[in-house]
């Protein structure tokens, strides 16, 4: 194992100048030489599709891979609320600096200043790009773009397309990539999943993939490999992620030498529909834009049996408004989630299982009328009614927090390059921009920033010196060995012949993760998880039951491989959460809180990125630290009172 050096490669200069300086100093690839380079892009969501389209447009030869039947299915499509940008179109005091500041503060000071500033800088280019592509953003009657305030921001900087912003942005990126496919610069491999990352001579040489229709294992080599494979909330089994979202690409890269940063930084989204039974396969998010007009409350006393309409005003506890008078229902996600949990733990939860809090629109209907509410949130109200069978115009919605987004991911430097040279991670798959908590409407921004405006510049730095060198042949022994390992792994799952299904194991793992590494963590619980996960993993390896073959469509077999990696990641998440003896953002250690019950950071000891090196299956990882230096933002106790 080569010694790991964590050089973030942050450029010189003031925060405003860093990106300009860097763009001037990175090596360029001559336009005519770009076609001599091959780049593999894994994943075709917002980050992957925008990167593939842009790299293809620049003239690189791109091979893109998705496990979906079409890139347009990626889970970016489900993002509802919007995308932030520092346009200040509404003249309410926004600026690049303010977006940068809010994002660093919202992340509870655990992100890298230089990356976040760059994100804020390119945010405006994204809106221009997407509008030009035909993304039908909401408009005002004068024809100009509309904005709304969103999830903890005190300015209106969120652009949106009804409740389907992610869908429209993804379609823009997908369509841009479709054009490059037609032009021949991008070759798409659909229904194909990454199984391994291959290194030759200390550099990413390519990937091993599995055709999900035939089970065929094959290798592809290139000059660089880009992972745009999203987040890992499905480690909790129940989350707002799509069913197929998984950590496999990032985890396999980690096993091959890429460090994994801040794995315990996961975001629990406050406004999801509570689960109704144990067969629940996923949790559905309701956009937190609902918090702009809905008021969150629970009955003032435990074990309330009256219907919400029968509980008089003075017997209700609008707990967010009570505790946070200045932000009220618009406090950041981590704060809103944890407070809902506190209420439910006190027995004040509502609904048949007592596992929700009310999100009530009665006041808003009285203030602006049902018609306006219908215009703003009609599709969300319809979704709610379809799922619960209740009409939210008549009775308050019930909501509960659910795992939603993972701020942690592969460690990357300012170039978005992992610790494996030539291997990049973009979008939710990397760790760099959101710190310990992501603000609403910032995920779409980051995915597209990385794909359209950052990676296409920074990747040249690593490609330029390789001019004239062909990609490693896929007949290289390193590829052959990785292929064999992959075949053995899949044959292995089928050979176990046990008694428990993949979903059973996944559900059990999810329970451990949710109970001990979910909204609240503490030493006792984490130590318990660290002993239970390997035991359950041993059972998984001994008692798993997967039917069918490895040579045709086999969805259980696909899931088995993904859940295998979730087990290993879950253990690392718990180790990371245990090591971080402080509370910050979405990471709340009950031992570390202020007298008012807020997250208590320890900047003297934990203002660093925890980057873990793989040290063997189910073995404790090796911790490396990147100290976070704040030259512009003053660290304060976050307060939303």
């Amino acid at each position: 194992m080569p010694s790991v050096s964590l050089d973030a490669k942050i450029p010189d200069g003031s925060i405003e100048e860093k990106w300009d300086n860097h763009r001037f100093s990175v090596k360029l690839v001559n336009p005519n030489n770009k076609r001599r380079f091959e780049i593999i892009v894994i994943g075709t969501g917002l980050a992957g599709a925008s990167a593939a389209a842009t790299l293809g447009g620049l003239g690189y030869r791109v091979k893109a891979f998705t496990f979906h039947d079409s890139p347009r299915r990626a889970h970016s499509i489900a993002a509802q609320g919007g995308i932030n940008a520092a346009k200040n179109y509404h003249g309410d005091g926004d600026s690049i600096y303010r977006l940068f500041y809010d994002t660093v503060k919202g992340g509870d000071y655990r992100s890298r200043e230089a990356n976040v500033y760059r994100l804020a800088q390119v945010s405006n280019d994204i809106i221009d790009q997407c509008t030009a592509q035909g993304v039908p953003f909401a408009r005002e009657y004068g024809g100009l773009l509309d904005n709304r305030s969103f999830g903890g921001a005190q300015v209106s900087r969120t652009f949106y397309a009804r409740g389907q912003t992610g869908q429209q942005l993804l379609l823009g990126a997908y369509q841009a990539m479709a054009e490059q496919i037609r032009l021949g610069s991008v070759t798409l491999h659909n229904r194909t999943e990454l199984i391994d990352v291959v290194q030759v001579d200390g550099r990413a040489a390519g990937v091993v993939v599995r055709d999900l229709l035939t089970g065929e294992i094959s290798s592809h080599s290139a000059h660089a490999v880009v992972l745009a494979t999203g987040g890992y909330s499905n480690v909790f089994f129940l989350s707002t992620n799509a069913m197929a979202c998984n950590v496999t690409a990032a985890w396999r890269a980690h096993r091959r030498g890429a460090l994994f940063a801040n794995p315990c930084f996961t975001q629990i989204h406050p406004t999801c529909i509570p689960s109704s039974d144990e067969f629940q396969s996923k949790l559905t998010l309701m956009s937190e834009s609902l918090r702009n007009d809905g008021r969150i409350w629970v009955p003032g006393q435990a074990d309330e049996s009256r219907a919400p309409g029968e509980i008089p005003e003075q017997e209700r506890d609008y707990f967010l408004e009570r505790k946070y008078p200045s932000f009220g229902n618009l406090v950041p996600r981590d704060v809103a989630s944890r407070n809902a949990k506190i209420m439910i733990d006190q027995g004040q939860g509502v609904g048949p299982l007592g596992n929700g809090v009310y999100l009530d629109f009665a006041d808003a209907v009285g203030r602006i009328g049902e018609q306006t509410i219908r215009e703003r949130y009609g599709n969300l109200f319809d979704i709610y009614e379809r799922i619960t069978g209740e009409n939210p115009y008549a009775v308050p919605m019930r909501i509960y927090p659910a795992p939603h987004y993972t701020m942690g991911g592969l460690w990357v430097d300012y170039n978005l390059e992992t610790t494996v040279p030539g291997l990049y991670a973009i979008g939710e798959a990397n760790f760099s921009d959101h710190g310990a908590n992501r603000l609403g409407a910032s995920a779409l921004m980051q995915g597209l920033a990385d794909g359209y405006f950052v990676l296409p510049y920074t990747i040249g730095d690593s490609l330029a010196p390789q001019l004239g060198r062909e990609p490693v042949e896929v007949s290289h022994p390193a590829f052959r060995a990785a292929e064999q390992e992959a075949r053995d792994r899949f044959a292995g799952y089928l050979a176990i012949g046990g008694t428990r299904t993949v979903d059973w194991f996944h559900r059990e793992l999810g329970k451990i993760m949710w109970d001990y590494c979910g909204m609240e963590r503490n030493r006792t619980g984490l130590e318990k998880a660290i002993s239970e996960i390997p035991a359950l993993y041993t059972e998984f390896k001994a008692d798993l039951k997967v039917l069918g073959t490895a040579t045709s469509v086999n969805q259980s077999l696909e899931r088995a491989a993904r859940v295998d990696d979730f087990f290993q990641l879950g253990l690392l998440m718990c180790e990371d959460a245990l090591e971080r003896e402080e509370s910050c953002g979405g990471h709340f250690r009950t031992e570390h809180q202020t007298p008012e019950g807020e997250a208590l950071r320890d900047d003297d000891h934990f203002a660093y990125v925890a980057a873990w090196e793989h040290a063997g299956e189910m073995a404790a990882g090796v911790l490396h630290k990147e100290d976070l230096v704040f030259e512009n933002v003053k660290l304060t106790q976050r307060s939303y009172k």
Binding site: S50, A53, G57, H68, D69, S70, R72, R73, H75, I77, D125, I127, D128, Q129, C130, T131, A132, Q133, G134, P136, R139, E140, Y141, G142, G143, R162, Q167, Q168, L171, Q175, A176, A178, E179, R182, N190, A242, M243, S276, D277, E278, F279, S281, K282, T284, P352, L353, R386, I387, G389, Y452, F453, T501, D503, W504, R507, K545, L547, S552, V553, S556
Partner: protein
């Protein structure tokens, strides 16, 4: 074939205490097909203990868990987001694309739409352009071919003008968004007696052609996409089944828009060509 009798259910699958909804006992007739080139058949499954709060796909999850427990291979079906937006799920339920509820994709259909004792027939999309891969999973790649033919606005990253440079009247932006809401599930094709893809294709064309940004490529786009569509799909004879089946309730008015633009394209594209050659 009866898969499970309620007494034999594994403890993890017991239904009971945690439910507040009504329980249903259903019979499923499901299309099973081992591969693209093998013959298919209906299999009958007894499905007791289904909560009306489950989604249709969660019901299939439960049936699949029981099948696996009984050493029978689970039913293959496409699905992903389970929020009605990715367009991956695709089932003919009792002969209706996405089942009985209007404006609802299969993943958002809940079992309270069915009654205790019902028999439910579950089939894959049926269209030549969507060959069956296995069981209920089909290949909808033809949709991607149509988009690749011209379903985009060419703009290199970094070359766009300020987003507020071109005001777009709100009704125009809203109409474009109505069309852009398509999730590419293929229900329109599955519901059409001709397996035509006019609703899908016209929605994409209208989304882009309605916007000022889409004008430069408007007619090349329209001709290329329609011609590609016709390589794969049947012809539209105005049945209107597509609109009824569409989970996003996209209007067939867009088909008229597309036909008008296609007619114009046939003339205008020749004129453009004569100018440039």
């Amino acid at each position: 074939m009866t898969v499970t009798d309620p007494e034999q259910q594994a403890p993890s699958l017991s239904t009971g205490e945690k439910h507040h909804g009504k329980m249903l006992h259903l019979t499923l007739q499901v299309w099973r097909q081992d591969g693209p080139h093998s013959g298919g058949r209906f299999e009958t499954y007894d499905a007791p203990g289904i909560s009306e709060d489950m989604s249709f796909l969660e019901m299939l999850d439960v049936v699949n868990e029981r099948l696996a427990e009984g050493d029978a291979e689970p039913i293959t079906f496409d699905h992903d987001c389970r929020e009605g937006i990715c367009g991956t799920c695709s089932l003919m339920i009792n002969g209706q694309a996405h089942g009985p509820q209007r404006g609802t994709a299969t993943c958002q259909l809940h079992m309270r739409q069915f009654a205790d004792g019902d028999t439910i027939v579950v089939e894959p999309w049926r269209a030549t352009a969507f060959p069956v891969i296995r069981d209920l999973m089909v290949d909808r790649g033809a949709f991607d071919r149509i988009v690749e033919a011209g379903g985009y606005i060419t703009v290199a990253a970094g070359s766009a003008p300020d987003a507020n440079l071109i005001p777009i009247p709100r009704p125009v932006a809203e109409a474009s968004m109505d069309a852009a809401a398509c999730i590419s599930c293929g229900a329109c094709v599955a519901a059409c007696p001709n397996s035509a893809a006019q609703l899908f294709t016209s929605a994409k064309i209208a989304h882009l052609n309605l916007l000022p940004q889409g004008q430069a490529e408007r007619y090349q786009r329209t001709e290329a996409m329609v011609d590609t569509m016709e390589q794969y799909f049947g012809s539209c004879t105005n049945h209107g089944e597509c609109e009824l089946a569409c989970p996003k309730e996209i209007s067939i008015d867009f088909i008229a828009t597309m036909n008008k633009d296609y007619l114009r394209a046939k003339l205008k594209n020749r004129r453009y060509l004569s100018r440039t050659t």
